[in-house]
Symmetry: none
Subunit: 417 residues, 2 copies
């Protein structure tokens, strides 16, 4: 490796937690042996990360935005644009973007939200949708398939408004509703018009899909037809300054969450595909670390995220979370062996907490440790919620992360003389 | 001394540091015996100062602005106005101001950036420049000599733009460039016009200087002529509310950095001259402390700054920095003997860190201690990076300093009922 300073952010998704009764009141981080994380804590400086501010619950998208220095309050108008970017649509500022599911409907009743997890033919289906529903009331509609039943939709035209309801009912057996303006925009002509365009698109796409040969074959094979696409997760695309322009750093992302991959692409970062990183509890954490080390050869900055801790939190499974934390620790161990921390600064933390007792993201602060180049060690000797609360860095926010890292790595311009 | 509450900010310029290998991983503050600073820590409350926010690298000017409660993000447009104010030009809001060097050129090649550190006759030279180049395209140009080769230039007129390049090439042997708009303002008519005016001034001043009798005498004596003035460090003067108006306190500054003296003058503070304060590693720190004590007789607030620690940091010299810290400690010892801390609150910290391993300002937080009137002591017993990280005040910013101090000293108006 060159002696050019490098920066790593390694995130255990949702890694922070709360005391768990079955762990005698310890958190999974405290209960699981984490020799490598403890090594970082002993040689680095610890603290507590609030992605936004004290107590604020965040999503993975808003948390990653904040950690990369993009204020989600002014720059986040829904996840749709990141999803669409992740699916490969070239989203432009002002576009309205949605995630979609290929689903199965009988009349308006949704019988399978994932159309039997359809695994082939969605490219042909998308093509047919774009041919029949590519232009609605002067608005360009770009639909693109992703893996399995997943897809994305981008609408491009003047005065579109994201203050509209979802078409996906989120429950099988329910009827899908019409898109409508949100109550706050009930009288807004742009929101009313946008909702009408979405409804027209859904029906035009439904017509194209229902009779499509792919679905005729599926019906013949006893499979649920992918005869509708249900938009949800709408967002308006905003301009985000490219990462390289903002920081003067060539950045890469190695992450297991499509939404975050989309954010990386949106920011013009290299998004590295690691086939062994499954996004599940069986993920190959060493493959992620190998990809980080490889990416450092040609990048100044790498953000990695291992999803497993978050999954375990959502599953209310403390043992599974301890296993995921063991994987995070193992991934960090690989980095300790293969990265030169004389010229590299690393931050290990999470994008938020997903406590197993809660089963979803909380606004609790996340334990964090900075290690390597430039760091002034504190007296912490282990990595966990309680120890990092006593860390030398105290509480900091996501917006502090890039200034802290670029300062430590010595790649930040001075403000003033 | 009266029982009127008083406030002191005593800054060791660049005093904070990072672990130094040759000091066995201790910082200079940790390695140097500092009995008086430790006395403050034991009897006061410690914390960590981020001049702006976590990780942000600052200059001395922006740091002092923040510490005095003036947001540099909205109030800092270059150092030039402070330099010009320090040289004695009455800078007005909207003025464009530069620092300048008297230099020696042959053709366009700069053969001596400091014109042999010219020590006399610059007043006559400046007078000649103002006679020949006092008005360029309707813009008033005010040039004034400072010590040795140093000078300042103020341009006063409508629509001047500071987004222009420097004329000083910063290297001897190089040709001095024309002033030009910065890339971001390449098409801006005001920036283009301002650059043209600067170039005309440089040439008009050059003509006045080259043939001046002072330079004829220098040439005859074998000395390099001060035959050009090269502007750099441009800034637009903004309105800053006077310190006394903002805080209702009569303030004085005793500082060794011209740039900061200029800020003090800009804020309408008394700037006390201490001849024994050389600004070097040989400075007389007790003379500074004596001046602080004297100023407290007629002022409510005194800010002092001893430059030596910063110099040692820039010089990568840990032993020199320890010596500078010993001077800071000695200066504080004098205050402990001669100030009544029953009615005086003091903050001792730095304006930023200048680690000897880095050789320039970093965005690391600076150890800080509040002592005296109003202070609630914590459990810290010594003054250093690691101990203050555990201090009772935690992290605070420059913008918190004046509220903290005026609160402790009991001279702050209540907000609310």
């Amino acid at each position: 490796m060159s002696s050019q300073p490098k920066i790593i952010i390694f995130l255990g998704d949702g890694v922070g937690d709360r005391p768990v009764p079955e762990l005698d009141g310890r958190t999974p981080l405290e209960a699981q042996a984490t020799p490598h994380l403890d090594h970082l804590a002993a040689g680095g400086v610890c603290g507590m990360l609030n992605p936004i501010s004290h107590g604020r619950r965040v999503g993975s998208d808003t948390a990653h935005m904040a950690i990369l220095g993009y204020d989600p309050f002014s720059n986040y108008k829904g996840r749709g644009p990141f999803e669409a970017k992740g699916v490969g649509i070239d989203v432009l500022p002002g576009d309205l973007a949605f995630r979609c599911n290929f689903s199965t409907v009988e009349g308006r009743r949704v019988t399978d939200r994932r159309a039997g997890r359809i695994s082939s033919g969605t490219d042909e289906l998308a093509k047919a949708v774009n041919e029949q529903a590519g232009l609605i009331d002067g608005v360009q509609c770009i639909f693109r398939e992703s893996v399995e039943h997943r897809a994305a939709l981008v609408m491009r035209g003047a005065d579109l408004d994201h203050r509209i309801t979802e078409v996906d009912p989120h429950h099988e057996g329910a009827e899908y509703p019409d898109c409508a303006p949100l109550p706050e925009a009930a009288d807004d002509p742009n929101a009313i018009r946008t909702a009408a365009i979405v409804n027209k698109w859904v029906q035009a796409a439904h017509a194209a899909l229902d009779s499509h040969p792919v679905n005729q074959q599926r019906r013949a094979a006893g499979l649920p037809p992918a005869n509708i696409a249900l938009p949800r997760g709408v967002g308006t695309a905003v301009h985000l300054e490219p990462f390289a322009k903002r920081y003067g750093l060539k950045g890469a992302m190695i992450v297991e969450v499509d939404l975050v991959r989309g954010l990386g692409l949106y920011l013009g970062m290299t998004v590295v595909d690691v086939p062994e990183a499954t996004g599940g509890k069986d993920t190959d954490e060493l493959a992620i670390s190998r990809a980080v080390v490889a990416a450092l050869d040609s990048h100044d900055f790498v953000l990695a995220n291992i999803k497993a801790p978050d999954l375990a939190g959502h599953d209310h499974d403390a043992a599974q979370k301890m296993g995921a934390i063991a994987k995070l620790d193992s991934a960090v161990g690989y980095l300790l062996e293969h990265v030169d921390f004389e010229c590299t600064t690393i931050l290990v933390t999470g994008d938020h907490c997903t406590p197993v007792t809660y089963g979803d993201h909380t606004g609790d602060a996340v334990p964090a440790v900075f290690y390597g180049l430039g760091v002034r060690p504190d007296n912490c000797g282990s990595f966990g919620e309680r120890t990092c609360m006593q860390g030398g860095l105290g509480y900091f926010t996501g917006f502090d992360v890039m200034p802290l890292l670029t300062n430590l790595a010595g790649v930040q311009a001075k403000f003033g003389a």
